[in-house]
Amino acid sequence: MDGTIFIPLMVVIPIICAVLVNLLHEHSGVTKIFGYIGAICLPIVPILAVYGNHFFGGYQPLANGGLTVALPEAANAIISGSFLELFHPAITYAFGPGQQVILFVLGLVAMCAVFISIAETKKTSGVYLYMLFMLSAALMAFVLTDDIFNLYVFFEIAALVQVGLILVSRVRGNYETGLKYMLLGEVGGSFMLLGIALILGLTGNVNISDIVMMIHTGLVNPTNPVLLFAAGMLIYGWLYATGLPPFNAIKSEIYSKGLPSGSMLLQSFSVIACISIGLVIIRIFGYLPTAQMAMLAVSVIAMILGICMAMVQDDYKRIIAYLAVGELGYIGVGLGLATPLSITAGLFQAVNELVVTSFLFIGFGLVLYKTRTSKISKLGGLVEYMPVAALLTVLAGFAMAGVPPFNVFQSKYLLCQAAIAAGIPELAVIMIILSIVTFLAFLKMAYAIFLRPKPDELEVSSASVPKTTMAVMIVFLIICLIIGLFPGLVVDKLGVLALTAFAL
């Protein structure tokens, strides 16, 4: 048996689990078992899989042989020796070292989200688990797929599931937020599809490798205004998927309406969409300086706006949400500089972001669990009630701000190096200033919630912190430390993925 059989399984297993838990949602025990099995599979399958391509339906490129016998003689004569031989007729999933690292970390985050949701609810909800698994499947497919329309389909599935995740959270105003997100999503998603349609019209292809080959070998005129317009539309879709301005307000609202386990996956969606759609744009339109400039400009605005808005909020869920949007700007800067080093740094930042933001969402989810309020002005003195959890949450904040020896320090350092090497040291200066302010915003929040005297009217519930949640936080802390101390483990593999962005 070939090891590449595991590549589609990364998407198929979560989908099967999703369907099963939804079907069996009345039997709490069975649902729980399927939930655990599916969750454990998520990080394990990427480790087992062998690097390679998977062609759905077995339709390999004709150059690999195999299909030619099935075609009529005359068709063979036309195809052989032409570009048609190299095209990918099937939906192709590409799996390499970079994808492996990203999928492993994503699988871990999704597994922890499932575990926490099972631990924190009395009766396991099959519907909620369905959404978590479906979103994980969509995210896995995002990273793997080499087909731009397949990317769009999973993008829309993910958008629907995201709305589902916030609808079940029972936070006030979640229905309004859901409708707002869907209406904005209809604009963002449709215009991204318009970009894909125009690329399809010009190249007749939806496989990204084929499109890249056609544009770079001159089969399609690279300066065709319609193609450039398609680039603009794809970048607009990227903005919506990632939650960069003008979509940062709705994205941060979405994060703040989810449950902690849901918010973990909601922010994973932004991170994964940012890197996968961003890489597509760089692969196809790498020759276009305007595309890179647009990506850079929006990312810088996102960083500044996100972190400045985080400073003035009074709701800690909103603060983390805005900080998360701001941190996405760092990834965007890495991708927008479009050098191999900067893309590696951006991907590295994305992997770290997946872990650290989830870590923060769980940490502050515990504060919500104990106090039922998310307004900082009403909180205080919680360090007495949850000392270990408070320490872990503060460490998570330190990690996000880029304090050594945690992982984000390494990726931000690499990003600064890449910005200087690309000849734009101003970006490095901005990134350092904003990291300091992230630290400040976080310190202010930690002081107000944990350290200052407890207000008299604050009621802290006596329920003990769930053990699973604590275990997950410790796992995340260990991951942060390992990646921070041995960045080579991750960076070398991500570098391979970054280089493929420049290969034909």
Partner: protein
């Protein structure tokens, strides 16, 4: 040239649908009208994709045993856009269904469909949890 009017007309209709949808989303206040506008944008894009696969005097893209390969290649329309647009329509329908369901829930709760009343969160940063 007379025949390409079909394709041109489809493309212009698609552009109009998108613009009408955007205008509805920005200017109309009723939530249902906004949802219809959003659906228009998706429909416009779908129409554009179908129009891409159009071929003057085209035939269906099914290759039968007794056909001549060269004339088939010269006449068959392009199948990929049709396959894609089917998926896209299904996605659009499910999105539309969820949006309408949300509008129903919001109407039941608040008794109004005005977007300024429903979707305008003046409670700056105030989120209480049940």
């Amino acid at each position: 040239m007379a025949i390409e009017i079909v394709q041109c007309g489809a493309l212009i209709t698609a552009a109009l649908l998108m613009i009408i949808g955007l205008v509805a989303l920005v200017y109309l206040d009723n939530v249902l009208k906004k949802i219809i506008g959003a659906a228009f944008i998706g429909d416009g894009v779908n129409l554009l994709i179908i129009a891409l696969g159009y071929r003057v005097n085209g035939i269906p893209y099914i290759f039968l045993q007794n056909m001549d390969v060269n004339s088939f290649l010269g006449q068959a329309s392009y199948p990929l856009p049709f396959a894609l647009v089917l998926t896209s329509i299904v996605i659009g329908a499910s999105t539309l269904a969820v949006m309408l369901a949300l509008a129903v829930v919001l109407y039941k709760r608040n008794g109004t469909l005005s977007a300024t009343a429903l979707l305008n969160d003046k409670k700056l940063g105030e989120e209480n949890n049940e």
